[in-house]
Amino acid sequence: MTTSSTGGARRKVVGLLTRREAVTVLLLVAAVLFSARLSPHFLDLAFLLDSTSLYMEVGLMALAMTFVIISGNIDLSVASGLALVGVGAAVLHSRAGLPMGWVIVLSLALGALLGLFNGLLITRMRLPSLTVTLGTLALYRGIAQILLGDHSLGKFPEWFVGIDYRRIGGLVPVPLLLFSMLAILLSLVLHRTVFGRWTYAIGTNEAAARFSGIPVDRIKVLIYLLSGLMMAAGGLMMTSRLTVARFDMATGRELEVITAVVLGGTDIFGGRGSVFGTVAALFLVGVLRTGMGVANIKAESQLAVLGALLLISVILSNLSGRTQR
């Protein structure tokens, strides 16, 4: 009994090390060390925590994107949806004069609606998610542009703006806190609930999932609904941080979201992945960017490093463990 349980334990340890997430975590550690060497300021805890606020919107959307990709789909419309929700909130508050409490509720509802629209088109019309969300990528940002043109709109109440300057215990910024709570919650949902198991099942083999009595279409719609809610949360968060909304907020960020998820070990073809991996990858990208920023490497030049990072991590995992497939 003892021998078999230690055998099991050893298998678990080996299994843990060969998992795709392990590569990400190692890279994260390396990135922290590397950044610390670039500049001593980097290891200032308050600075480190504050810097996270810059990528928590991407993080929120990446949490939902983890579900989307594990279920074998993709959502290219997230950043556009974020902009539309942000613009929608600004219009509702500054033009329609609704109280901010209502605006927040309505914004979340709008996000849910955008996700629902994606989900229903994909399941009811049996369209590929890549095409549908490419279409809504243009559509959602387009509507935001129609609403607001080239203007910025704001005039939000004091309590709403500057979410990144509010800290719990004088240290932890609110965006980071919100993100952490949602990450834990969604991690539980993905790994500990029937919904999560079904998500993996659909991404592994949709036909077999259907044959097993899983309500495939309903689950997919719910996943897109989740993605919509995260767009809304991200949209509100970014609007609060920037104090105004513009139609071109977060342009191109969908690619960063997908990068975080894939870098975190989620299989782009579905069926495998974890929330933990996504979180680790998100901080990896964030730390690298902050580190390079501290070292005065321009934001745009950092892109080259990030792109290379994504490719290297996928190639590494290809070399180590693609034999399974």
């Binding site: 049996r126 369209l127 590929p128 890549l130 095409t131 549908v132 490419l134 279409g135 809504t136 990528l137 243009a138 559509l139 940002r141 387009g142 509507i143 542009q145 129609i146 043109g149 080239d150 500990r192 609930t193 029937v194 919904f195 198991r197 993996y200 099942a201 592994t204 083999n205 036909a207 077999a208 999932a209 259907r210 044959f211 097993s212 009595g213 899983i214 309500p215 191109g252 690619l255 997908i258 990068t259 894939v262 782009i268 073809f269 321009k298 745009e300 030049s301 950092q302 892109l303 080259a304 490093v305 990030l306 792109g307 290379a308 994504l310 490719l311 996928v314 190639i315 290809n318 693609r322």
Partner: protein
């Protein structure tokens, strides 16, 4: 014939001789020291139960598998057949169980792809010659098949004929046919046999696999029987009998098959009344009682699986009713069926029965997961417990229940599937080919289990193509043919002959209840013309139809804009439209090729930006640089970046969407590193370059001419060169392309390189068109615009189809919309939303029409 073969066997060398060939997969022996030989002009049939090793033997001959030991002699000399391509070169053609072909290509190309080029002047494809040869070839086989028909619209039989025609086109000396008759109607089998006899006459050696003894005795010259990977023996047809072959296959007299125990038959638990689904089955009525096993026999394709899946809620019937345990069930989903006590064990274990990478325990718990998980929280402990119980009950052999289902043998996998459904405690169990592909021991266990379940009072409907199994296990036997019930027999009155008669329609002995009406087949019996007219319309003209559709939309937009604002068609606006399109066109052409090959290139915008910035900086350093040299430079730079993408996708096996997502960032970063973030200003750019966007000898700007030339070249490349055609083949069916010996990786690599080169050229054109290059916005988001143009033009995002004309029109539509918005004084802010709506409408209409046409 027999005499000839006997004479050859004594005197001559066989065409092929396999001696002591062995093969095992993952330690499990599939073939053990098997001898096999083949003479020209004979039909040599391989028989044996599922798993006996027949398919493996043919795949070794066809170069798909390599033997672990043993020797293959061709014309008396030892040969190696390391790949299907080599097999093809030495004159061996393999027809797979499932036809491996290119559904998006037409009949003639399916015949000749990778096998023969019809070159005309300039070494371009001569379509006329190819169609002529295809027509001739088909006619020589006695087939009336349009060489221009898309394969997707053809019946399975016609697809097989096309595959045979392909084999013949390469003058194959050996034709290997793995169960070619399994899905054919008797009429189609007759046609196949005619062709086989004709080939025999031409001296082709044929290896034939079939489970239908009658058929085998009719067509074969010799019969070799395999059992569990061992050679049992080879017999001349004239010197053997049905009984002997059966005995050789089973290894014991037939009566030793497990038989269902007697049970008390209870109330009807499943009642199906007049169930119909258009084109699949009609008017199906029957009952299954508690304690009863009802066998559903028929040929493959008779509609049995479709009926079962309809009952289970997977594809709801159009009319008729299903009653479960006395209550009418309106089934819309498998989940609902499950709740009512129905269970369905599907025919395709690997694709529909199991999640192969999942642990055994989570496979078993899947249908009952909600019940095992209070409030939706998983309890893996309970799941494992249940799985352990099933493992003990059904004697499933595995290391532990955490093992992935993929690692189990066929028989054990089937037991896992059965466990999964037994846990739902069903009242009615539908088993679709429950013992296909599992070994004899496991088969007997499954049969014993079925008998036990019947004794517990469950109602069992068993679909099986295995007649001895049907006869041994069923209390009552239903027979389907071409979508209708054509026979019903009590256990006592059923014989193999009577069932086959009902299944093939040779005569219709039947008994009263539950049947329906007396009539002929659902579809008209298919004559020699194997093309179904409606489908061939839908597919062969589809793209032309698609292009007309989008041209119509373009015209509509132009008309509306002109009606509202007559100046819309002024030369100035036409010029604006024309100037909008060239960049999109050049890159969209290449992106379309990438999409056709079943890939995607997201990096084109960054490549465009990189090339533009390099060209701009080149002019800063060397203002005297020749324009043509600069253009060449941009194409080379783009091509190099594209080659990196191609290398990542082919050699590094990075999925295209990830590879190009990575390079999208990486190349954009390079733009900044190279430029140092500095914009290339208008006064850095030579006036000659800017003039390319303004004038030309023909009155249209040069860059428009560039785009037109690129489009024309793409058209010629895709339509008239072997490589261009291979792009379609690779995207339509990558596996088939590989087996045909196409250099799939080379094609994919080339496509990415071309995509890069086109984006590079577009960078040069960008500098000309806009007169400045900003590292921050040049080409940003351009990938979405060109993908939109391709999709609007009808390119399939899943590969295999797309046309230059369609993509051109797609780009034109984007341009027209853009200018129309400006002219109509609608804010430019509407542009993006309009694009979004255009894409969504295009794909929705597309799929809607395709579905209506029954694809």
């Amino acid at each position: 014939m027999v005499e000839v073969i006997r004479w050859m066997m004594i005197s001559g060398t066989p065409l092929f001789h396999l001696s002591a060939v062995s093969k095992s997969f993952g330690g499990v022996p599939v073939l053990n020291a098997v001898d096999f030989d083949l003479f020209p002009g004979e039909v040599h049939t391989l028989m044996g139960e599922n798993g006996a090793g027949k398919s493996t033997l043919t795949k070794i001959l066809g170069g798909i598998h390599q033997p672990d030991s043993g020797q293959i002699l061709l014309d008396g000399k030892p040969v190696d057949i390391p790949s299907p391509h080599v097999a093809q070169q030495v004159g061996i053609a393999l027809m797979h169980q499932e036809p491996l072909n290119f559904p998006d290509l037409d009949v003639a190309e399916n015949i000749f792809m990778g096998r023969g080029e019809h070159r005309g002047p300039l070494r371009l494809r001569n379509w006329t010659a190819m169609y002529a040869e295809a027509r001739e070839l088909l006619a020589s086989m006695g087939l009336d098949l349009d060489p221009r028909a898309k394969l997707r619209g053809l019946s399975l039989a016609a697809q097989q004929m096309v595959e045979m025609a392909g084999a013949l086109s390469q003058k194959a000396r050996v034709l290997l046919m793995d169960e070619p008759t399994a899905a054919l109607t008797p009429q189609e089998v007759r046609e196949l046999f005619l062709i086989i006899n004709r080939l025999k006459g031409q001296g082709v050696a044929l290896v034939f696999i079939s489970h239908r003894l009658g058929e085998v005795l009719e067509i074969s010259d010799r019969i070799t029987v395999l059992r569990d990977g061992e050679l049992v023996g080879t017999r001349l047809k004239s010197e053997t009998s049905k009984d002997e072959i059966l005995k050789m296959m089973v290894g014991r007299p037939l009566s030793a098959l497990f038989e269902k125990d007697r049970t008390t038959i209870g109330a009807p638990l499943l009642r199906v009344v007049n169930l119909s689904r258009r084109g699949r089955f009609s008017d199906i009525s029957f009952e299954v009682h508690g304690g009863e096993i009802v066998g559903l026999a028929g040929l493959v394709g008779a509609g049995r699986t479709e009926v079962a899946q309809s009952i289970f809620g997977l594809s709801p019937p159009e009319s008729g009713a299903v009653w479960v345990a006395g209550k009418e069930a309106r089934l819309r989903s498998p989940g609902q069926a499950l709740g009512l006590g129905l269970a369905y064990v599907p025919e395709d274990r690997q694709q529909h029965g199991l999640l192969l990478p999942f642990a055994v325990f989570s496979n078993i718990s899947l249908p009952v997961l909600r019940r095992l998980s209070p409030k939706g929280w998983l309890r893996p402990g309970v799941e494992r417990e249940q799985a352990e119980k099933c493992r003990a009950d059904l004697d499933i052999h595995l290391r532990d229940v955490d093992q992935p289902a993929r690692e189990l043998s066929g028989g054990n996998q089937q037991k896992v599937v059965l466990s999964k459904w037994l846990l739902t405690d069903p009242r009615v169990l539908i088993l679709d080919e429950p013992t296909r592909g599992i070994d004899i021991g496991a088969k007997a266990e499954v049969h014993r289990l079925m008998s036990q379940l019947a004794q517990q009072g469950k109602a069992i409907l068993m679909i099986s193509s295995d007649l001895p199994e049907i006869l041994a296990m069923s209390d009552r036997i239903l027979v389907m043919r071409e979508g209708r019930l054509t026979g019903e027999f009590e256990r006592s009155e059923a014989t193999q002959e009577r069932i086959m008669a009902a299944a093939t329609g040779q005569s219709l002995p039947r008994k009263g209840m539950g049947g329906g009406r007396e009539d002929g087949p659902v579809g008209q019996s298919r004559g020699p013309c194997l093309t179904s007219p409606t489908l061939s319309f839908g597919n062969s003209r589809w793209f032309r139809f698609r292009e007309i559709g989008i041209a119509f939309v373009v015209a509509l937009v132009v008309l509306l804009a002109t009606l509202t604002e007559p100046r819309f068609l002024s030369p100035e606006n036409i010029r604006n439209i024309l100037l909008y399109i060239p960049l999109i066109t050049v890159v969209a052409m290449a992106e379309m090729m990438v999409l056709i090959s079943r890939n995607i290139d997201l990096s084109v915008g960054s490549v465009l930006g990189f090339s533009a910035i390099v060209v701009g900086n080149a002019f800063i350093r060397a203002p005297e640089l020749s324009l043509w040299l600069a253009a060449l430079l941009s194409v080379c730079i783009g091509g190099a970046l594209g080659a990196v993408n191609g290398a990542l996708v082919t050699w590094m096996r990075v999925p295209a969407i990830i590879a190009t997502l990575g390079t999208l960032s990486a190349y954009r970063g390079l733009v900044f590193i190279v430029s140092g973030g500095r914009q290339v200003d208008p006064n850095d750019i030579p006036p000659d370059l800017i003039r390319l966007s303004q004038t030309s000898p023909l009155g249209v700007p040069w860059i428009v001419l560039f785009a037109a030339i690129v489009a024309a070249m793409t058209f010629v490349f895709l339509r008239y060169t072997p490589t261009g055609r291979q792009i379609y083949a690779v995207g339509s069916n990558p596996l088939a392309a590989r087996l045909r010996g196409l250099a799939v990786d080379r094609v994919v690599f080339l496509v990415f390189m071309l995509s890069g080169a086109a984006a590079g050229l577009a960078g040069f054109m960008y500098a000309s068109r806009f007169g400045y290059v900003n590292p921050g916005d040049t080409g940003v988001g351009f990938e979405l615009v060109v993908i939109s143009a391709a999709i609007l033009g009808g390119t399939n995002v899943f590969g295999g189809s797309g046309s230059v004309m369609g993509t051109l029109l797609g780009g034109l539509l984007l341009g027209v919309i853009n200018v129309a918005l400006a002219v109509l004084h609608i804010s430019a802010f509407w542009q993006l939303a309009t694009y979004g709506i255009a894409i969504l409408t295009a794909v929705t209409v597309d799929t809607g029409i395709q579905r209506r046409m029954g694809r």
